[in-house]
Amino acid sequence: MTAAASGPALPVDLRERVLAASLRARAAGRPEPPAPEISPDEAFSRAADAFYGMLRLLQGEHWKRPALRDLDVQGLVGHLTGVEEDVQRCLAGDPEVAAAGHVESTQSAAERQAGRPPARTRAEWRRAADRTVDLVRAADLGAEVAVHGMRIPLGLLLIVRAFELWVHENDIRAAAGLPPSAPDASTLTLMTGAAVRLVPYAAAQAGLSEPTSVHLVLTGPGGGTWDITLGQPPPPPAAIAIVTDALGFCRLAANRTTPAGLGVHITGDQNRATAVLAAVATLALD
């Protein structure tokens, strides 16, 4: 579709009438068909099950392979056990974990795995994840919690945690030579929603103060369309439009790909769009 197809001239008001009727039938921004809705604790539970399922695929020699930073696979699983322990302390009202570093605070849990049988590391993580699931099941997901420098609603924290489990599951899959995995559409929908919600924060942290409106379209399962306003005062609509697939966008938000490595379609200011995408990559906790 490169040029307007020929045909008789249209009445001047037909475009407005047709688009209005279309948007009455289906609101803008919503994917069709929509993914079945799930709660944040369900998303976390599913991500934990997927992570555990991957751990059960690992052979003995996989556990010693380098996975992330200076951690081998076993150390990375230990890091995640440490994160669960910090989340549980946060839920118990321990103020010390509010400002604790995500990596520093969990380093001891990662290091204590050295020399252990992998099955013990795996079982310890499973118990920790199950305990988190049990604790949040009856909790108020709208209540604000503070952990690892974040002060966010518990529901959002659980989505961030599901995101983290999926990212590290794929770190380990890559280390072990296993094929990558994708979350189901319902979980991915929550993940993309959370990542998009944090884009203005990421842009501000990256120093993008110039008012910009971004029309962001994420295609495929977990996708949707958002109009995001960056900077102050509020800019006019749609200065730039970015179209990319939802899974790729999540990999970017996890800093597991670069804007250059992301299949993307941009209209408008290329440099500004590139800067926004680069800012998204800084959302990663690691």
């Binding site: 307007a4 008789p8 047709v18 688009l19 803008a28 029309h215 993307v264």
Partner: protein, 198 residues
Amino acid sequence: MPLAPSHASVRGVGGSDALLAARLTAGDDLALGEIFDHLAPAVYGAALRVLGNEAAAQDVVQDVFVELWSRPGQYDPAIGTLHAYLVVLARHRAVDLVRSELRRVARQERSHRLVPGQSPPSPCEEVMASQAATAVRAALRLLPDNQRVIVELAYFGGLTCREAAKAAGIPEGTAKSRLRLALAKLETMLDRELLESP
């Protein structure tokens, strides 16, 4: 950090029609506007050729775009272009309108025969009948003469079947039979027109 070229395709999405389809599925209203700007004239033209009436063709354009937006998954880029999909959809909708009008006129004809002295059709009904008539005229020219004459008398001349039979100088039963045959052929011919027209 350099990006892919300005209009690089999204990973996993092929040509531009596939990209547009993916954007529609994601709820991108700007994509709908782009598609309207590029393809609405062709959609309108396709509907207008069948219906011969601007207002009815505009209604078809609205139906087609609401359908595309509401059920974007119905369009499969692997099967054909978005242009072809929308034009065929428009023709289907237009022919459905004509068929519906033919059935309505036939019902009205039967009703007039059964209830003498019934009130004449409203101006609105006459306009609708006129729209359908425009589309049918082209197909009429392809009917055998003896069937075409009876349809013209009954359909365009406004005669009852009995009056049309008398005007054509044939028995009423023969006129009814020819009218039935003619209407069946008209539907078939409108289908063929749908498939063969550009």
